[in-house]
């Protein structure tokens, strides 16, 4: 990808002289929003299927959650899976999970989490699986390009278009796995070359949009260290914080650069007992809702906090609604709905 990027940068003056839109870089996928409706994104996180999972029960829960979300939002345009889909498992279990996601016949996007390589497979096998042609609804084609030198695999942007105009950008960013330090590990973070890639994509979209920044949201797995700012001067929107924040210790420039590029929200997983949402400097920071009970989860009124998040990106606007659906894992009934309208106002 680096070579292509150099080529794009080198050709910038020439491209600017043209009247048409700038060519998109690699790792860009386009989707069309339909009619006058919001573009609805369903976020699943920390599914964590493993050897101890009852696959039938877990499949039924996820499928039911998709149906509940569809009924709630009217339609789901995109499913975002923000990492840790698996844990210690084998290829059969991994394939069964993605076959299930594919069976919903809704476009699905994907970022890797720190546990996704713990199963009995190689990174290459996992990347090839999620980008294989058998998954017609998976959005991860060029992203799985081992030759590029943007760190990680699941780095790509979805341009949500209405007609010819890009209304929203949805970034998927790989927060990798663990940083090896001498004798121990720490959670990884968004690397400098990924931040650079993000900035280039955002700038390109801005130029294509006549110099106006395109609003964007970002999905990834491990939250950035900036989340500690919530405790200093963040504005609580809602949700539960039932465990301490667990980002790594390494800071990234991502939030700072995202702020400068009209990023309206970033959504992650990783800490299963948190589904807290807050705002700072016009960016919404939100944990997703854990989509399974595996490993650990938190309880409220005796019910595991499991379910999903739904984002509704508004038409002709940089505002969105966010909803957390808490769904009882056993009864599959919605036990709680947390709705925040236009929270980025």
């Amino acid at each position: 990808m680096k070579n292509k990027r150099f080529a794009i940068i080198a050709l910038m003056p020439l491209l600017f002289s043209c009247s048409g839109p700038l060519a998109s870089a690699a790792h860009v996928i386009e989707m069309n929003a339909s009619g006058d409706e919001d573009f609805n994104v369903l976020q699943f996180t920390d599914i964590h299927w493993n050897y101890s999972t009852n696959i039938k029960e877990a499949s039924a829960f996820l499928t039911n959650t998709v149906n509940v979300a569809k009924a709630r939002a009217g339609h789901i345009d995109l499913i975002e899976i923000t990492g840790d889909s698996l844990l210690v498992a084998n290829k059969k279990i991994a394939t069964t999970l993605y076959d299930l996601v594919e069976s919903w016949e809704i476009p699905w996007a994907f970022t890797f989490g720190n546990h996704d390589y713990e199963g009995e497979w190689s990174e290459a096998w996992m990347n090839n699986l999620v980008s294989s042609s058998k998954y017609k609804h998976a959005i991860l084609p060029e992203a799985v390009n081992k030759e590029d030198d943007v760190d990680g695999f699941s780095n790509y942007v979805i341009n949500v278009k209405r007609g010819t105009k890009v209304e929203w950008q949805i970034y998927n960013i790989d927060t990798h796995n663990l940083v090896e330090e001498f004798g121990s590990y720490d959670y990884d973070f968004i690397h400098e070359n990924q931040v650079q890639w993000y900035e280039e994509e955002a700038q390109l979209a801005k130029q294509n949009n006549g110099g106006t920044s395109v609003p964007s949201i970002a999905f990834f797995h491990i939250p950035p260290t900036d989340i500690y700012d919530f405790e200093k001067d963040g504005t609580l929107v809602g949700g539960i914080k039932d465990e301490k924040f667990c980002p790594g210790e390494h800071a990234s420039e991502f939030v700072k650069v995202a702020k400068e590029n009209n990023c309206r929200g970033m959504f992650f997983g990783h800490d299963h007992s948190n589904d807290i949402v807050w705002k700072k400097d016009n960016i919404v920071f939100g944990y997703g809702v854990k989509a399974n009970t595996e490993l650990y989860s938190t309880e409220k009124d005796g019910i595991d906090i499991t379910g999903c998040a739904i984002l509704s990106l508004h038409k002709d606007s940089d505002k969105f609604d966010l909803e957390h659906l808490i769904i009882d894992y056993d009864t599959k009934q919605v036990s709680e709905t947390l709705t925040w309208k236009e929270i980025n106002l």
Binding site: Y51, A89, A124
Partner: protein, 313 residues
């Protein structure tokens, strides 16, 4: 070495490899539920059934290494009972899980949970066979070696270290055998993992050599071979140190190479965020070799000719 002893030695190696593969799978089952053991009724029989083959390995080892026939008979009696009780209990738990619908066919392995049932049925059958045909088994399974007299502390420390060493070595040998499922030779850092792969097989090779050495020595004078053993121990120790230095050196330059290439075989490392696997792979051989060196030199110092407690079989 007699043909009978050689067959017993080869059977021990074969059992070690099979037990290692089962232990590897069982350890992954265990790690899948280690955080709180929320599914222990389901996962417990899975990993314990896999660990049963390692129990069989240890039982076989003690049967073929006891200093006298009385202890051999006692070992056989005790383990026969253990096989029936544990194997039977696990079999019941597996059937309960099948009835409850907890075990879904074909997910965890190609024939799951039939593989678990087979292991436990074999264990129970062995237990019954041992109970009914004890004398026949004692006659058919020879002694690989009768442990020569050692100070008490050598026996206690040796057995404790031996348990740990065998678990680690069989796990990593199985991990190496399972490499086709997770290895990716196209990753830029694949070459960096080679010293770790060598250590994985090296640990078992030391063990095989140790067993072969004991079997070979059954009919030989001990003193001159203890001297040879010390030389071999020294060579293995130097090799381990060399590989350990290489592992550390490569880790300094390429911090991600272990997690990029070996994450699936080191689940405990990533669960507790500590670099346990590479430490085990380097420290276990070093400690075992050092211990064997001390034990061997102690034996030389104690007696010029080790005392045999009983005529060899």
């Amino acid at each position: 070495m007699s043909k009978k002893t050689l067959i017993a030695f080869l059977a021990e190696i074969a059992l070690y490899i099979i037990a290692g593969l089962a232990f590897y799978q069982g350890f992954h089952y265990f790690m899948a539920d280690v955080d709180g053991f929320k599914h222990i009724l389901k996962v417990g029989p899975m990993f314990l059934s896999c660990f049963m083959l390692t129990y069989l390995l240890f039982a076989y080892y003690y049967l073929t290494h006891q200093p006298n026939e009385e202890k051999r008979a006692k070992t056989l009696r005790f383990n026969g009972f253990g096989f029936i009780v544990l194997g039977g209990l696990l079999l019941v738990l597996i059937i309960v899980n099948i009835i409850l619908g907890n075990y879904e066919f074909g997910y965890n392995s190609l024939i799951f949970p039939v593989d678990l049932i087979l292991i436990d049925v074999v264990m129970v059958a062995l237990g019954v066979l041992i109970t009914l045909k004890k004398a026949w088994i004692l006659e058919k399974i020879p002694v690989i070696c009768r442990e020569y007299s050692k100070p008490k502390w050598v026996v206690i420390v040796g057995r404790t270290l031996g348990f740990i060493y065998v678990w680690v070595a069989e796990y990593f040998l199985a991990a190496l055998l399972m490499a086709p499922t997770y290895i990716d030779v196209t990753t830029p850092t694949f070459g960096h993992t080679v010293p770790l792969y060598v250590l994985m097989v090296f640990m078992s090779l030391i063990l095989f050599w140790h067993e072969f050495y004991l079997a070979w020595n059954k009919e030989k004078e001990m003193k001159q071979d203890v001297v040879l053993a010390i030389r071999i121990i020294g060579l293995c120790f130097a090799t381990t140190i060399g590989l350990a230095v290489l592992v550390i050196d490569l880790a300094i330059g390429h911090t991600y190479y272990i997690s990029h290439n070996l994450q699936c075989i080191l689940p405990i490392d990533y669960m507790i965020s500590k670099n346990i696997g590479p430490r085990l792979l380097t420290l276990c051989p070093m400690i075992a070799l050092w211990f064997n060196f001390v034990a061997s030199t102690t034996c030389i110092a104690k007696s010029n000719k080790p005392k045999e407690t009983e005529p060899l079989s």
